[in-house]
């Protein structure tokens, strides 16, 4: 079960820069490590995080092996209109996690 946490303010003034904090539970196995019995542990990482704001992509990050487990990604966007922010994490082994958050712009 993919689990994610998103923290952002629920309301903002038009034109405000708002901070969005995202956290995903994921081991981020690099693919470079070996098990205690010597086999290579296959790579298992989140490769992409996207955020769309009323259908428009406002943020995208490509994640790689050097990113720690349970990656915390913090970014900002400008509050332009009330609506929905959709977050989507995708990665190895068909990993998909999604989250939606509402933003009210006054």
């Amino acid at each position: 079960m993919a689990r994610v946490v998103v923290s952002m303010q629920p309301t903002a003034k038009r034109g405000d820069v708002i901070e969005i904090r995202t956290l995903a539970a994921h081991p981020m196995e690099t693919g470079f490590r070996h098990s205690q019995t010597g086999e290579l542990l296959p790579r298992d990482i989140i490769t992409r995080l996207t955020c769309t704001y009323n259908g428009v992509e406002v943020f995208r990050a490509d994640l790689a092996q050097a990113v720690a487990a349970n990656p915390l990604v913090i970014f900002t966007t400008v509050a332009t209109e009330s609506g929905t922010l959709e977050f989507r994490w995708t990665g190895d082994n068909d990993y998909i996690a999604t989250h939606t958050a509402q933003l009210t712009v006054v």
């Binding site: 689990r3 946490v5 923290s7 904090r21 956290l23 720690a68 487990a69 349970n70």
Partner: protein, 246 residues
């Protein structure tokens, strides 16, 4: 007469080595600004998944205890304590497992399992900011004295006592790390070195293998007595569970 004087003399020396109450500092005070920010981040801090797991694991407990926010407020600040039904001093993990086996008729969680750490962190979270208050009575006092003895006893190949670092040399460096005062104010913790959650017993076993002593087993009377002594030593300090430590 000699028999009377001897315990007094021992008590006096151990009190002399204690850190004065107003000079006590949480491990938080020794951390970098960045690590403090991780602990202060309630919404997306590294312990948040353990708290969410713990909230889910609380469901069967709610049958008796109801809303954890009210029923568990202040509970973690009072452990380890004497539990009548077990006729023993138990730490919080053991108390949770006793409740599971005796009341829920469910299997006990293994020490350091994800489930036990999550549930303990969730219960501990309900006491954040509550001052640590250990009950001292005829049942807990002998255990506390045993813990105190262990804290001041040199052991392991390095022949070190806990007190030599944590009472006498706190604030100085051990390799690259600052030696804290060993006040267990935030267990279970998310430790960056572990990349995960861990209990006070895990931390104590770390220190024991660090001085090359044989670590006491999880749940052993030695570890519980040390936990009791350390929590009493931190009496009055606010609980930070789940804390982040480097």
């Amino acid at each position: 007469m000699r028999a009377l004087l001897l315990p007094l003399a021992i008590a006096a020396t151990s009190v002399a080595a204690d850190i004065p109450l107003d000079k006590r500092l949480s491990g938080y005070e020794f951390m970098s600004r960045e690590t403090r920010a991780l602990q202060d981040d309630e919404a997306t801090g590294p312990a948040v998944f353990a708290l969410l797991d713990g909230e889910a694991l609380w469901k069967p407990c709610a049958g008796c205890h109801g809303d954890a926010a009210s029923s568990m407020n202040g509970v973690a600040a009072r452990y380890p304590r004497f539990v009548v039904s077990k006729n023993a001093v138990l730490n919080l993990e053991q108390r949770i497992n006793a409740c599971r086996t005796d009341k829920l008729k469910a299997a006990a969680f293994a020490y350091e399992s994800k489930e036990l750490l999550a549930l303990t962190a969730y219960v501990g979270r309900q006491s954040r900011g509550v001052p640590i208050a250990i009950t001292l009575d005829e049942k807990t006092r002998p255990v506390l004295e045993q813990g105190r003895k262990l804290f001041f006893r040199r052991q392991g190949q390095l022949n070190l006592a806990c007190a030599q670092c944590h009472d006498e040399r706190w604030g100085k460096k051990l390799a690259g790390s600052t030696i804290p005062q060993a006040h267990p104010t935030g267990y279970p913790i998310y430790r960056l070195e572990w990349q995960g959650m861990g209990s006070l017993e895990r931390r104590l076993r770390n220190c024991l293998s660090g001085v090359r002593a044989e670590p006491y087993a999880y749940g052993s009377p030695e570890l519980v007595s040390l936990e009791l002594y350390l929590m009493w030593r931190a009496r009055g300090m606010p609980l930070e569970t789940p804390a982040v430590r480097p």
